[in-house]
Point group: D2
Chain length 421, copies 4
């Protein structure tokens, strides 16, 4: 193992990553620590953050606005795929990690660092997501994960260590009882009273959405245009990805939309609870699923939904930069080529109600599906059902002796012979 002289740290500005700086310099005497913090849409005083990093001992601090790339190249492909982890978690934190780690690796390579470090604990998912990305993009880099190494085990000990090393602690107070992650797609809340699964989240925990109870008692109708599975316009107005998502977050948040209370299975095997707010994402996801149902044939739709679950697992598990994810995305891109159209959505007190949809690629043909007279020949169904049900009839005939449960009564069986015609 080469000597570590330069380390690039994924810096958040919080207590956890601040104390890592002096700790690294202690562990690797003479080493230089460079921070990188990415703007993924969270609220932050960027100048204060930079100052704090330097005050904590960093030799340099990069701040990069990666919102556009995050939405365009990571979030919207995930949306197109329809990926939701365990059917409920919209992957807000998971989807940002590979890009954040990629930016960190780029800095490490540019700066000629020997190692990368992060502030994730040894119990969570994020350590896996950061490290799998490091391995995928620059396997030669040493990985340092202080929370798995040092003796600090609690917030109290961390504060103590900060004070001992003259790290500015800032507004860290007792009231921050939740562990949070915030970006342009969502905010997550973990810990504190949420650790009791019987507790309903307290209203003042939420940050991006009002309660359905407090939302306006009137409907807000909007329309969203998609092009090949990617949202491109709101109420008929073309928008870039960041603008569109920001506006939908505002609309969703105001109408009490996008809260999810989830007990999920972490990569490291344990169950944990997170409460998520994904206002804009929830609207987009609901709308796109509806558009899928008019533009995809049943078989493509079913397979796409099945692969979406796999795709969600990959994102959750930190496996973005893998052949499997790329291969599924190639499927999704092709399967998404007709996902073009407009969805009318009504927002009301937590509800996302589909009010209409249209597409030039709609497979719904009003004439075919109507109940009146049409060119569809009802008699065709006779031949169809005969062959569609052929194996059912043959099975019934040959298996008649056996079927006890769920099958026909004995007296039926006795009479059973295969229909003559």
């Amino acid at each position: 193992m080469a000597e570590i002289k330069k380390i690039v740290l994924a810096y958040s500005g919080g207590l956890d990553t601040s104390i890592i700086i002096p700790w690294l310099k202690e562990q690797y005497p003479g080493c230089e620590v460079i921070g990188i913090c990415t703007n993924v849409g969270q609220e932050e005083d960027w100048e204060a953050l930079k100052k704090k990093a330097i005050a904590s001992g960093a030799s340099k601090i990069y701040v990069e606005d990666i919102r556009e790339e995050l939405v365009r190249d990571f979030i919207f492909p995930m949306l197109r795929a329809g990926a939701v982890y365990e059917g409920k978690y919209m992957l807000g934190t998971s989807i940002a990690r590979p890009l954040q780690a990629k930016k960190q690796v780029e800095v490490a390579l540019k700066e000629g660092a020997e190692a990368v470090a992060h502030g994730c604990t040894g119990k969570g998912n994020d350590q896996v997501r950061f490290e799998l990305t490091y391995k995928a993009l620059a396997p030669q880099l040493e990985i340092i994960a202080p929370w798995r190494v040092w003796d600090i085990r609690s917030r109290e000990q961390a504060i103590e260590y900060a004070q001992k090393n003259n790290i500015p602690i800032g507004n860290i107070s007792k009231k921050n009882i939740y562990s949070r992650d915030w970006n342009i797609w969502h905010i997550s809340h973990e810990g504190g009273p949420l650790e009791d699964l019987w507790n309903r989240p307290e209203e003042d925990m939420f940050m991006l959405s009002c309660s359905p109870k407090d939302a306006p008692d009137k409907e807000t109708e909007i329309s969203i245009d998609f092009d090949k599975g990617i949202p491109v316009a709101l109420n008929g107005k073309k928008m870039g990805p960041v603008e569109l998502l920001t506006e939908l977050n505002r609309l969703g948040g105001e109408n009490g939309i996008g809260r999810a209370d989830v007990v999920e299975t972490r990569v490291v095997g344990m169950k944990s609870r997170g409460v998520y707010e994904t206002p804009g994402g929830t609207i987009l996801y609901t709308a796109l699923r509806d558009l899928e149902m008019i533009t995809l044939d049943a078989e493509t739709l079913a397979l796409k939904r099945q692969l979406a679950a796999k795709y969600a697992e990959l994102i959750y598990q930190g496996k973005w930069f893998t052949l499997q994810r790329e291969s599924i995305d190639a499927f999704m891109e092709k399967a998404g080529k007709y996902l073009t159209g407009t969805v009318r959505v009504v927002l009301y007190k937590g509800n996302v109600i589909i009010a209409g949809r249209k597409s030039k690629y709609s497979l719904y043909i009003e004439d075919l599906a109507s109940f009146g007279e049409s060119s569809y020949d009802h008699a065709d169904a006779t031949g169809f059902i005969k062959l569609y049900g052929l194996s059912t009839g043959v099975s019934a005939m040959v298996q008649k002796e056996l079927d006890a449960e769920g099958g026909p009564a004995d007296e039926m069986k006795e009479m059973a012979r295969f229909s003559k015609k």
Copy 2:
């Protein structure tokens, strides 16, 4: 083909099946037509229905209350499986058909009939569901599907035929612009203004649920107990399946819950639109999915969800009495053996909000998942991630020449060699 002397007809009391009676007697001179109508939870004047059947020419009319069997043996296993067609349709009509057809077959065998008949059109799913059940249970019976054979092509022609044959038409009026199917699990609405996908359903179409806008502006909190995936109690009070579902329908309906506006793919290949109200079912489904997430390990959960989609297809396509459905159910029964516990649910203006959950089989261990000190050894994660990410690192090393898209930049690749440690 044997001569047809006795036919058992799935009779609904409506115009469509009423005119079938004289038509059958016309087609099969001298034959006897026996009706069977099942009480699946719809609102109906049973005495009037019986009279109407006889008045229309039936020699006999059976009415059977199959609600208990329907909920216990069909709906609740479907709920346990988590089956929802194309992610949105809760299969209200589909799940009743196999039992209704089974009852009809039982009557046919008891009465010694040569044929069974139904009133489904040649464009819908129900013809498939009825006939696959007939074939599965009594393949020797002749199947007669008048709507695929006769010349009647519209409601107007049907009324005309009824009048010509002195069939009592009753309260059939212009206002019944929708085609509906109603049972204890749901009501469906099709046709009329719904045929334009851009139209939002009109409020006065709905029958089991009020609009979220008209629902009370206060939360209703309830608790549901499940035993092995089957709901057994409401607010701590044990209830039979019919009572429990009926009560939940009332609560859900009052709170504007359970509406779904769906463009689905029919068995016969075309897209069609249905609007469904499934108030109690929506509450149960949401609650059970939450209970799953604390009691099933991630892998069992993922596979169960995948098989649920297949199971939903089978039900939709009329394949209840098949080896495949039975085999998936055997999986579901085993996988469901720990789905025992209680879910707290808040109902509010269309929202079903999970407010808490508990189970003696919960895999969530507060101590493990907390952020404070615990017995979990953070250092274990180091070895875990090394092996978990091993193939990612090896792939990065050996594939470095190729990866263009989505992969590391060239400068990274040049430096890439496998981490020494």
Copy 3:
């Protein structure tokens, strides 16, 4: 429906399609019948075939050599995907139909025909494959399937009709007891004594392969190079797709390789038996699967194999020109980008024995997998297994009361408490 004045017929030169020509002219008085026959690698006297078509009444006969396109654009992508129907049938007939039907549609459009016709019976798969391709590529064309319409029901009646219409019958003799389909990928045999599933195929039925018993009693070693999943060289010599496959057919056939005796499920629901000879294909398939195992990570491999089964169903069912097939192919192309390398194969009396494999993208690292000392740290496995087995341990603890079958004995359960460390 427009008047039919010109019909393009998929002409094979055999009895079945020859009699269709006069029949069509009888049915559609004044219509012109144009034949198209594709050279897909079968043995045929093309000049004689052309003459026979004209003699049978065709106004024109197209003969097109589509072998190159068939192998390059249909067979090799299918090979790359690893598609085998029901795990046993290598899809030789199925894969040719969409291209044959596409060529026919191209002629129909060029000639301005109103209809296309084929000679498939109403019991087989090929009617579905032809017609789904017609519908996908030119839904406006009328489809004529004489075997589903006319009264001819047997070979004897067909010969009689031919004689009555002065159709040259040629060498049609009693010994052709099998129904066959032959192309560059395979030959199929159906019917005759094969209809009894207990009968072993007679040796003189086979046409492309000798019996393993008659094959040389010495090994033949060859090497095959693949590039991104496509075979490109044999024994180090670059070859085009037709040349390479032809040569492998020769080598495989001589060594008794590639026979499969299959009872498969037809699209129309019934079981049927086919015996297939696919000598070159069997070698290629075996070799490529081996190459996959060294170049694909386990998860991509598992998903690719799963999608291969789906892909095989699509090909079998005639759904080549569908969004689903295209989408899976996009997956396969991406997942196949590292399937580059060489496989050594030994052919011996029916056996295809893998004797070695190498790839610049091999994920097998000799050092890692060896049993001697290496850089791999055995201690990492401790942490790995602790987390990998975490949910197993937690499940054991919380579920201890329940597990009766397959689980631990009661006395174990009594002692069970979660391991402290």
Copy 4:
């Protein structure tokens, strides 16, 4: 952690587990080491093994013949499922581990031991399989894995340690260059010259099968009867599981059957190569797959095959005692209820040739599938294909502008309008 006073060791009689005994006594002063060795069908001098264990310092040695239970409760259910890992490895080692570990846990509980130990290295799969079983059955037991802890890193060091501790080494010689695992289902070979993937296995490595070249130059025909997916008779003679498998191993081995050269992906992420001999298993697997194809409808068959791949992964990964495995087995048991019948198999120089099959539950109806006249109405296929291809035609019509690749040529598209009838 409680003090370790008694340890139960999975003892094999080989060098690796022999030296563990003194090492454990060194590490846990005053502790008692009890060995357990299971007879799973390997060749062994049991009395010598017992003496060696005691001579190495064990206080007691259990030897248990678990062959019957292994075949009946583990191997045959795996066979019924059709589980093969990565399509090639028949899981011979994997399937024995959970039962071996279960027996070890039973001894540990009976003896009141605090810990269990095994001799698996830190790079292999078996450590995972043993430890996941320990955790599933008795999570309270301490687990000791010396190979992950001690400094011994090679065979040479192990021999040295043995000599230092007066452990009888016996016939350990240079010629044992392979690492092997042998039981009634298979023998595996790893290491030595196999580590170079380009090397073909040397003929003298094999132990259970002769080379196809050395096998008799005449066919051996046998018949196998299955009952619900379980083999019950050979050549019409009922046999118990151990007898039947032993006899098939002999027949297969004599005829050069059942060799597989596999590069597989280990649980710990790395690729490794194993060469396996599974003579009887290969015959059984081939025969049962054939029986499946005549008794299962296509959809059940396809799903069973898909779940078999998952089931194989679970076995490979040591997850036998899990809810997921139990749930899949419930599926397999139900889906297997018609897998009853007889398969004729010809063995010849490495080939397993299906020569015939029959079942009272056969879904193959000779009359339906024949080419002559039958009750099947060809005209039914017309209606069938119309509906079966409906979505294809609709898609072609609505998507005509877009499809560039793989779709119809532009001139076709221009003409495209939906067929009128």
